[in-house]
Amino acid sequence: MSEAPVVPTTSVPDLIEAPITEAPAEPGRLRARWESWMHAVFTLREDRFFLLLAVLIGVFSGLAVVCFRLAIEWTQITLLGPSLAPSFPRVVLTPAIAGIGVALLALRVFPRVRGSGVNQIKSAMYISNGYVPFTTVIGKFITCALAIGSGQSLGPEDPSLQMGAGIASLIGRSLRLSQEKVRLIAPVGAAAGLAAAFNAPISAVLFVIEEVIGTWSAGVLGAIVLAAVSSVVTMRAFLGPDSLFRVPPFRLAGPGEILAYVALGVAGGAASLLLLKWIVYARPKMQALPRWTQYFQPAAAGLLIGLIGIRFPQVMGAGYAIVDQAMHGQFVWQLLLLLAGLKLLATGFSFLSGTPGGMFAPTLFIGAMLGGAVGSIEHHFFPGLTGTIGTFALVGIGTLFAGFLRTPITSVFLVIELSGNYTAILPVIISTMIAYGISRAYQKVPLFDVLARQDGLVLPSIEERREMTSIVVEDAMRTDGVLVCEPGEPIVEVARRAEVNPEAALLLRMRPGEWWLLDRDDVLRLAPDAARTTTPIHAKSKGPVPYLFRDQSLAEALQVMDDWPALPVASRADLGKLEGILTLAATLHAFRRTPKDD
């Protein structure tokens, strides 16, 4: 069922510009218009055409996500019944029986649907030139709808993200975009899919930047934003504009209340670490089991979840309705804590069994329950706290998201977008940062990187890349070993100074911002016979040479350096003021020094 990656064999022109020709009178006005429109479209620069495509991808992804969500809901109503508390036989048997179906589909028909969607997109970007097979889109749609609809403790966001990427990849390949664009189009679709799934365009954009691409690339940012916005608009047209959760209003009474959220950050960090460690530890063990067991693992997970569901049906499925109830203080803290623990367990069962589905929704669920529990306990001891249980649940969502998925910026914005409420921003920032810090301290490698390595892929670690220190000119430049000469200075004087500093490079400052490299030997050769009026201008020199600034990266400096043996480092405030000199040898030496040496 797999498709061979289609890689363009010929380069595609970046610019296809031509004068707009007159529309022919025949064979008719309609055709003329069509040709005119097509002409207008295809004479766009490819990067502009890419933006147009982003909108198209966004609309397609939005529609796909709408259909996907409807499919999940319908499956759930059909299999588990419309009530939040399904009947005993349904709750036990449905996830187990559906698990067999899911396993058969995943192993026999759609082999690529298992695993993390985020990593599959990253591997599409970095390994297979943006190729995401469309069969994966279909496979994810069917298997995830069946799995989540039958009660497996997984969410629809990760599959939505992958579906968006698959659609984008198909469109990009079909239109034979340049290889670079095809590679970048998968994250564009991913952002669209995720935005529609969460009804949160900003968070989707940030997630893709934070976790998939890793840099704020101007070349793709516009397309990602357009795709995310158009997908959300499409989704809202069918499913309505409401935020995922409705949170009661909240007001932080004083700075002392921040401490309440510090405690939540610590609890969230610990819980996310627990989930991470469990998955990191148990997944290789599950993968090591004989292949035939994979046919039964989803069913076994379904049965276990069903058994939990007899008493606590809240843990089944994505659980958005339950999160909403928790936010409205519907559960006592004991139940909230229990639900958080059971959901953690159930999510582990589902994910480790290889059942296709995402971890985003369970993370939200666990975070909300934990947040609500911590809030309830704190309210018990400090009845004066103004934050409602809903606020704590909301902050808990961001906290666990940051701790588990290690995307702190996305977590903060996700909370705002999910609730449509800005008031909790301060507690969210504090709590998420604490959870993120705890998670990083005790689990060095982030979840997605661990999963990739367990699957035998060596994908770039975005977190590591994000935190890599950039070496700048300042780290390599020398502040001594350079002599600055003026155009009117007698060459005799210059030669005298050069003899005192035999290793120094000679720089001639013609005017602010114009530097020349003097040939030292020529200066020394001219000096003995030179008249008082002979100046460095009469000596051999190269220039004007480009100049650098001390804050520029060494990578940039290398590009500028070209064949120059040394370049001046000027002050940004005064281009005539020399701050140092950068030589090729010093640059290479700086690169050779690793961060640990520092």
């Binding site: 022109p13 295809f42 609309v59 709408v66 109503i77 939040l84 203080g329």
Partner: protein
Amino acid sequence: MSATNPVTVNEVSPRVLSRELVLLLCVLALVLMLALTALLSRLYHRKIHTLADAMFAQGEADEQAKNFNAALTDYRNALVYNPGNTRFQFHLAKALAAAGRDEEARSYLLNLLSESPGSGEVNLELARVAAHINSMADAMRYYQGAIYGEWDRDPIGMRWQARRELCEFLLNRGAVKQAAPEVIALAENTPADDPLRLKISGQLLLRTQQWSRAQELYQTLLAANRNDEQSLAGAAQATFELGQYVTAMEYFDRLTRERREQPDLLNLYDMTGRVLAVDPFLSGLPADVRSQRAANALSMAQTRAEACAPQTGRPLDKTPPQTDLQRLYQQDKSLQQDWTQPNLQRFPDRLEAAMAYVFNVENAAALACGEPQGDDRALWLLGRSRSVVNR
């Protein structure tokens, strides 16, 4: 490719044609997918709305049957399929409140209030929750919000109802002073053609001891229906408290015997009879009866003072007198000759002074030993009513 190397449409025509086709296919696919999604969405929404409405209806039925836990499940199920429905949320909140889960109800209601801060019904429900958890400040705030809030149906009636609940909340917590202005406002806003609400207002006026207003209100009611028992009882009570015992007795007399002998009225009726029996100032009394009653009153007052003194530990004959009761008792001795029954009959102008003395003794005894009972109470009440009249 660089900008200096433009490639025209014609030069890459095979690829452009291919793109044209792909784009055309994309547009066709988009149209098809839009249509499919619209169809699915329509079917889905119809389905979930049906489910939500059915569950909501089931919830209402359960709520009416006082099966609140089942109603909660139904409302929650309904909200799963229509989470933004404020009516469902409101009913869920009401059911939660009815089930005694005040905090949960409050949370939902606050959410609803944030969406429509002026909603009278949400404010009223929040006030009820606050009243239930004895949060006085919140209850006051939300009741006021309900009174001055917006109501979709029958705003006057609902505001009246909200104010009535506020009055009852305050009275149940003994905040009579705070309740009084609200009760007065309630009575003033009660339509004159609504006897049921007038009676409720009357009851609240009685509870806040607004006797004159209550009497006036019941008189209005009796003007419309002179034999209405509830109005007669209210009027009798108000009139009794105003010290108009003759009129009160008239109202009592118009009541049926059964009603008159019910616990809330029996004491009042009995006391009215006693007051009228000891009152020497009643018009139409013969002089001998008048003087006899005054003499009896003097005797009762003396007995009351003598009975009270041991309770206070201060003998009545202690000189010099230190308490009002001692002073009055010793004064009595000097006047005993003037206030005999024959003298009082012969000199009716002494009657007023003699009875003033009686009332003073009863008041002093009441202050020292607590409110009197029986005929002493009748004399004490008579004295209070006389002082009001005199003032």
